[in-house]
Symmetry: C2
Subunit: 252 residues, 2 copies
């Protein structure tokens, strides 16, 4: 595992930017704001940071001050148990927010690590709260984003608590596909940014089990797997696979 050396401060090239020009407007905080409101958000979200692959955006325990919007790149978040076990709690891509977990205790509750060279917008939280007291649409949208995170987490609980290995992986692939689609990329072909071990941690499986499930999907013609490159060949087949184990005598 890489982070053996003491982590220096993140190499942050600070750049001016503007939500009003961002092509992720529709996915991110600016959603639904008027021109004038957008301009006010711009004043707040005006600093971008570059995070290189493998570096931490923040670590569990650090004081919380800001949330981050992913401008480009790919992240994972994870939590650690005292004895060294860890659990990946999510993978985040462009347009999604990082750091919401820190509001609760004013300290970050998880680690956020870039899985590829990335850029994030820096959003001081107290200023966001101030602005969302003034702009109703911003307030409401922010609440929706937090709520969506809660709903997403419940979906992961379902996945971890009630699904078998292949169902979990199928759900994961379909979810990735859908999120890539929403960003204008191919829904059927993409590169995984994370290792089998990270996928396994997220899905509550060991890396060998993830690997075997991929192989089986390939045998059955559901996907074409070549290392990190994935082509989804049979979306319907993957969906079908997920709902086959509910009632006894439902096919298997």
């Amino acid at each position: 595992m890489p982070p053996s050396k003491v982590s220096r401060d993140i190499s942050l090239a600070v750049i001016r930017t503007a939500c009003s020009n961002c092509n992720l407007r529709e996915l991110c905080l600016p959603f639904g704001l008027s021109e004038e409101e957008l301009a006010r958000l711009d004043e707040l979200v005006n600093v971008r940071k570059r995070i290189k692959r493998g570096e931490h955006l923040y670590r569990a325990g650090q004081a919380f001050e800001s949330i981050y919007a992913i401008r480009s790149g790919f992240f994972k978040t994870d939590v650690l148990l005292e004895d060294g076990r860890d659990q990946v709690t999510g993978f985040q891509m462009a347009g999604e927010l990082l750091g919401l977990d820190g509001i609760s205790t004013e300290r970050h509750a998880c680690n956020a690590v870039a899985l590829e060279d990335s850029e994030v917008c820096h959003i001081p939280f107290s200023r966001l709260e101030k602005l969302s007291r003034e702009i109703q649409a911003l307030q409401h949208h922010f609440h929706k984003v937090m709520s969506r995170e809660i709903v997403r987490d419940h979906g992961v609980m379902m996945l971890l608590g009630a699904m078998r290995a292949e169902e979990r992986l199928a759900t994961f692939l379909l979810n990735l596909s859908q999120r890539f689609t929403a960003r204008g990329f191919s829904h059927s072909e993409f590169n995984l940014r994370m290792t089998r071990e990270e996928i396994g941690s997220y899905l509550g499986l060991k890396l060998e089990t993830v690997s075997r499930a991929f192989s089986r999907f390939q045998e059955e013609g559901l996907v074409a797997v070549q290392q990190k490159h994935i082509r989804i060949l049979d979306t319907a087949g993957l969906k079908l696979l997920i709902n086959r184990h509910g009632y006894p005598g439902h096919g298997l």
Copy 2:
């Protein structure tokens, strides 16, 4: 499973109430508000509903309009898969909020069921948003509550993804104990409101596994179990049990 007959409207005895007199002030939304601010919250949260054991407070798919603060009683929330599998996503007790999942899509994303006769305070969400634009402390506290839910969910993911059956149950019991303590009840002795099957669903286990784990805890003198009555005899022992399976060669 009971809900076979068509669910009539919840029998709701509507009662006037006031946050300013509520003995759950310190746990609930009013936390940190001044006298005057409290009075304004009172205007909003002025209706109480009674929900009888087994009844739904809301169902997945219903239009979202309000969140609910539990005044007394005990609830579970769960999500359903199309094929009939379900996953309990949480157990909620007095002072906790229900319905945050509905903000995202304006429809409830899960079911909320009373596990004993309960009372909830009804909080129209649009009015809460309005008030929290005007009262900074309320806004901030509400954000903290949502964030806390996210952090809690990540803890459950850790539990489901990285722990074994007995660790999960121990974690669950310690969590209940801590929450009862915060409400002024005994930390070592309480009654479970949920069945073994519901505990199992929450923990990603079958009811038989939950039962066996209880028996084993009893054999080892960690807890005294008599049906739904639980006495925790060795808190330290339960905690110890949780961190024994991390690194290889860590005791087991």
